[in-house]
């Protein structure tokens, strides 16, 4: 049979394997992935291994510099163990970052896909709505919202997601607009598929690459924003620790106890840059047009 020629040996999923190979060659991205994995693991298991609770106050042991006894990263103005607080804060910050990413990706993807697939006045309306959201400076919108809403980890997540879905909506919209003209969409309609089915089962998986990249970068931004609003006092409220409010507490002691600021500062920097590197790596790995082999 002449057309029985099949590239069977290259299975399974050569493109996935190729994308993985390309990602692994991106040194910064791999470093980022390792760091994030380590940080996440530390936040999950770390607090259980440390000798102190993050809320345990020891007024006699205030302002201990790092490596004092078993306070590996020192203590804060109330004598609480910074290592324990840092890791507990990490749980909250990373969780808020991830949850905000999931939520904003979901909102953005739904709006983008409906606008892109439907087109017409529905599409135009949705995209102008997106543009309108983009016109607000995100920080002010966020602070305005945060000032009215009782701060809790869940509300912070919702607020961050509500102000960062626009980019994903635009990316998805652009992808879907080109994908919906492809023949397989017509073929799917021919076999009786519904619009819902076509949007979410046929088109969405085809736009996965750009969505994954944008989502990764969104995590980085969400962590930064959470730190930012917590730093300004509208975010996670003490005594619950977050990287942002740890920085806030550190302000007044910058000259006497600089480690109070340096430690959470490094954590934020590491988390954000790692996610950004991973995003860059994914972009290069998933983009078939880039020249990397």
């Amino acid at each position: 049979m002449t057309d029985a020629f099949v590239i069977a040996t290259l299975r399974p999923r050569w493109w996935r394997a190729r994308a993985l190979r390309r990602f692994l060659r991106h040194r910064l991205a791999v470093t980022g992935l390792v760091l994030i994995t380590a940080l996440t693991l530390a936040c999950i298991v770390g607090p259980g291994l440390l000798p102190y609770d993050e809320l345990y106050i020891d007024l006699r042991g205030r302002f201990a510099p790092p490596l004092t006894g078993d306070h590996y990263l020192g203590t804060d103005p109330l004598g609480r163990d910074i290592a324990a607080r840092l890791l507990m804060a990490g749980r909250i910050s990373l969780l808020v970052g991830f949850a905000a990413m999931v939520l904003s990706t979901a909102i953005g993807a739904v709006i983008g896909i409906v606008a892109g697939y439907r087109g017409g006045w529905i599409g135009t309306g949705l995209m102008r709505f997106t543009d309108a959201f983009l016109c607000f400076p995100q920080i002010f919108l966020l602070l305005a919202l945060a000032a009215f809403i009782k701060p809790s980890a869940i509300m912070i997540t919702v607020i961050i997601a509500a102000t960062s879905w626009m980019e994903i909506a635009r990316i998805v919209n652009a992808e879907i607009r080109s994908l919906r003209e492809r023949d397989f969409v017509l073929a799917a309609r021919m076999s009786g598929a519904s619009h819902m089915w076509i949007m979410f089962r046929e088109l969405l998986p085809n736009a996965a690459g750009p969505i994954i990249v944008a989502a990764t970068l969104t995590v980085a931004r969400a962590i930064l924003i959470e730190a930012y609003i917590s730093f300004l006092g509208y975010g996670i409220q003490p005594p619950l620790p977050s990287w942002g409010n740890m920085l806030n507490n550190a302000q007044q002691y910058l000259d006497s106890a600089p480690w109070l600021a340096i430690v959470p500062g490094i954590a934020i920097t590491l988390a954000v840059t790692s996610f950004n590197f991973i995003g860059d790596g994914l972009r290069d790995a998933l983009d078939a047009r880039s020249d990397l082999k």
Binding site: D3, A4, V6, A8, A187, M190, S191, G192, P205, N206
Partner: protein, 337 residues
């Protein structure tokens, strides 16, 4: 005697464009019986693909596209008018009772899903069968369309298959629910000649087995001779000649069909300098500015001013089942061109 599957009456399709409303398919009528193959032949832009998409209701919604006329799908005593049915009801017929295969097997499969999953979903879109049953049916279908090692192919992605294999998969998907009518829109154009022959052979064998009616859209007369029982020639959105394959291919009466036939290279004429390959001068007219009278007259070697450019010729019967649209066919038939 044989059962009617599809009756199309006065199908008209038009699109809204920047320059106003343009009708690209005019008054197309046809009938299709079980087990029968009707070939729709014409140049690019003759409206044949648009007409078939209109039958599947796959054109954009009004006001961007407007479809009028009737297209009755006969199914076990029931009659469904594909043109006036609601979108939801058309969706239930699409794929199940009337299916379509496209020209480009390379782009008609979703690149991110496995072939098996795509067939399974096509089945499950209409029948409430379990995933396992649908999978067994998919396996059966791949075997039916002649794909070797179907078990392995079910897990393949479209890019791992050759063009011919992909077209077989498309055919398997179209046949999954044993439709009464299959519209094949140039299913072999993108394939090379040997594979083309295999696919045509396959379609014919499948038709014999299932008794489905086929509407075969093509611009290839070889394919027409190979597969069809009847042929319908379209020009500029109008039927200009129709009849049995025998009538249309060997005794074409409409000058356009005649010209088309002369432009097909023939092996038995190869090397004869006395009979150069025929061409039809000019281009298919812009549907927004159709010539008056017979739409073919500006390109017709037989046209007579004052007669051909005044008034559209009617579709008249030349013989039993053989109809054409030309005012001068009797005169032309006497003096062979």
């Amino acid at each position: 005697m044989s059962t009617r599957r599809l009756t199309v009456r006065d199908l008209r399709v038009g699109f809204r464009t920047e320059g106003g409303f343009v009708e690209v398919v005019h008054d197309v009528s046809l009938t299709l019986d079980a087990g029968e193959t009707l070939a729709v032949v014409g140049e690019s832009g003759s409206g044949k693909s648009v007409a078939s998409l209109a039958l599947m209701r796959l054109l954009p919604a009004p006001p961007r596209a407007r479809i009028t006329g009737r297209a009755i799908l006969h199914h076990g005593g029931e009659e469904h008018d594909l043109i006036s049915l609601s979108e939801a009801r058309v969706r239930r017929l699409r794929g199940a009772r009337i299916a379509m295969i496209f020209q480009e097997p390379l782009t008609s499969l979703n690149p991110v899903h496995r072939v098996g999953a795509q067939i399974v979903e096509a089945i499950r879109a209409h029948r409430g069968v379990s995933r396992g049953d649908a999978r067994r049916r998919a396996l059966e279908l791949l075997d039916l369309v002649g794909i070797p090692e179907p078990q392995k192919r079910l897990a393949a992605f479209p890019h791992e298959l050759s063009g011919g294999m992909r077209q077989r998969v498309m055919i398997a998907m179209a046949l999954a629910l044993e439709p009464d009518v299959l519209i094949a829109d140039e299913p072999t154009t993108a394939l090379d000649v040997t594979v083309q022959a295999q696919i045509l052979e396959l379609l014919r064998a499948l038709q014999e087995r299932t008794g489905m009616a086929m509407l075969f859209v093509t611009h290839n007369f070889g394919v027409v001779a190979e597969t069809a029982d009847r042929a319908m020639v379209m020009y500029s959105g109008r039927v200009v000649e129709e009849g049995t394959v025998e009538q249309v291919l060997t005794r074409p009466l409409m000058p356009y069909t005649h010209g088309l036939m002369r432009s097909v290279p023939r092996l038995d004429h190869a090397g004869r300098s006395s009979e150069p390959l025929g061409t039809i001068e000019g281009f298919v007219p812009d549907p927004a500015h159709l010539p008056a009278g017979c739409v073919f007259h500006p390109r017709c070697p037989h046209h007579v001013p004052g007669r051909c450019d005044a008034g559209l010729p009617e579709l008249e019967a030349a013989a039993e089942g053989h109809r054409l649209r030309c005012k001068r066919w009797r005169e032309i038939a006497e003096v062979p061109a």
